[in-house]
């Protein structure tokens, strides 16, 4: 019996729909809380090709919600582990692994090779980047975001429909991650599964796609509502005319006289301004440690305070720095305003 018998039985799928699924290509940006359940259902449905994009590694704290990963996977590349697991689930699906972040440089080219983009990211910068690149590549994308017990879901740039910038024209510094707020594993599970459902409807051309609408879900209150959204043509036109609009979110740090060392990657936001803020990503520490002052106190930070702690260990043990202090809690705790 066919692997897809139970879905082919549906009039919305049928043998024709299954062929559509088989020839479809879906790019999943971020294989985390949203991306894990989404890719499992897309793989099960027999989508022809799935792009798995994530530059992150599996952390023990991911396992409660990122259901593709298991304890022995901790420390390994999320995209690679996801491919291994999903291949076992369905050997007919082709997977392409991207162990790199989506950037202004690569976004349009990569997205052009797929039919639909599923947003599994956890930051505003990448959401705007997906949005702008999808406008230029003329592809629909399925958006979801969560905050504690709430989720937002929509399909953007579908058949000339509204885009993310039509709802939220400007990016914000208030980038609050699950790491910072906490989340129950089921919430991204629900949202990621709904995203997969939208992708399947887009591919099949069946049912009603959640375009022009923003669905709001509150898991704790067991409530949901749908807000109608309209296109802001000028927002879309701006991107078509000028290309991807980079999101540079700058901020001031509380103490402008203090030396700071930012060990985050260059694409991480917000970017603090100031003459006494050094930016050296973790991977460049051994080649650039000489730039760090060693005769006065330097506060080292990252997004959460975890990587900066490791950076201090490296700088202390390998290069003899004794003037470094960790910013526990990460950049949000030292931003002014």
């Amino acid at each position: 019996m066919s692997k897809y018998d139970r879905q082919i039985k549906l009039t919305e799928v049928g043998p024709e729909g299954q062929k559509k699924l088989r020839s479809a290509k879906v790019l999943v940006v971020g294989v985390g809380g949203l991306g894990c359940p989404a890719t499992m259902y897309l793989t099960g449905a027999g989508v022809g090709k799935i792009g798995l994009m994530d530059h992150d590694k599996v952390d023990m704290s991911n396992l409660h919600r990122q259901v593709l990963f298991q304890e022995p996977d901790v420390g390994r590349s999320k995209a690679v582990v996801a491919k291994e697991r999903l291949e076992k689930q369905n050997s007919e699906v082709q997977f392409e692994v991207f162990e790199e972040p989506l950037t202004i440089e690569n976004a349009e080219n990569i997205i052009n090779q797929y039919d639909v983009v599923l947003d599994g990211t956890d930051n505003f910068e990448t959401k705007y980047l997906i949005n702008d690149a999808c406008i230029l590549a003329n592809k629909p994308w399925v958006f979801a975001s969560i905050y504690k017990h709430e989720g937002q879901l929509s399909v953007f740039n579908y058949e000339d429909g509204p885009t993310y910038r039509c709802v939220f024209p400007k990016s914000t510094r208030q980038n609050i991650s699950c790491e910072a707020t906490g989340v129950l594993g089921v919430l991204p599970g629900i949202l990621g599964t709904l995203q997969a459902a939208e992708v399947l409807k887009i591919i099949l051309g069946a049912g009603e796609v959640l375009s022009g609408k923003l669905k709001l879900i509150n898991m704790m209150r067991a409530s949901e509502q749908t807000i109608k959204i309209n296109k802001r043509p000028e927002e879309v036109e701006k991107i078509r005319q000028n290309g991807i609009a980079p999101v540079y979110i700058d901020c001031d740090l509380k103490n402008k006289e203090q030396w700071y060392l930012d060990v985050r990657e260059v694409f991480e936001q917000p970017k603090p301004k100031g003459k006494k803020v050094l930016s050296i990503p973790m991977g460049d520490l051994t080649s650039r440690y000489r730039e760090i002052p060693n005769n006065q106190e330097v506060f080292v930070f990252c997004q959460s305070g975890k990587r900066s702690r490791n950076a201090i260990e490296i700088l202390k043990n390998e290069f003899g720095f004794h003037n470094l202090k960790n910013v526990e809690g990460g950049i949000e705790t030292i931003i002014d305003g």
Binding site: G32, T121, S145, I146, V167, T172, S177, C178, L214, R221
Partner: protein, 78 residues
């Protein structure tokens, strides 16, 4: 006139409620009501909060009795 205001995400958290009914005097646009509601709340980026009136995203509408206003901050978690 009375309008119902629904709060979402960190706005609900800052307001310490998810919904309230407000008694308004005089004409007020959705944008003016938003400023009034968010004024006393500790929210860093108030501009990013979007407004829906009766489940339609629009901040230019002049409110009328019985309207339901939703204040929607962007989320980024995943």
């Amino acid at each position: 006139m009375k309008v119902t205001v629904k709060y979402f995400g960190l706005v609900a958290e800052a307001a310490e409620k998810s919904e309230e009914v407000l008694e308004l005097n005089g004409e007020l646009t959705a944008m003016e009501l938003k400023s009034q509601c968010l004024n006393s709340l500790a929210i860093a980026d108030k501009e990013s909060v979007q407004i829906a009136v009766n489940q339609n995203l629009d901040d230019t509408i002049t409110l009328k009795d019985g309207d339901e206003v939703a204040l929607l901050p962007p989320f980024a978690g995943g």
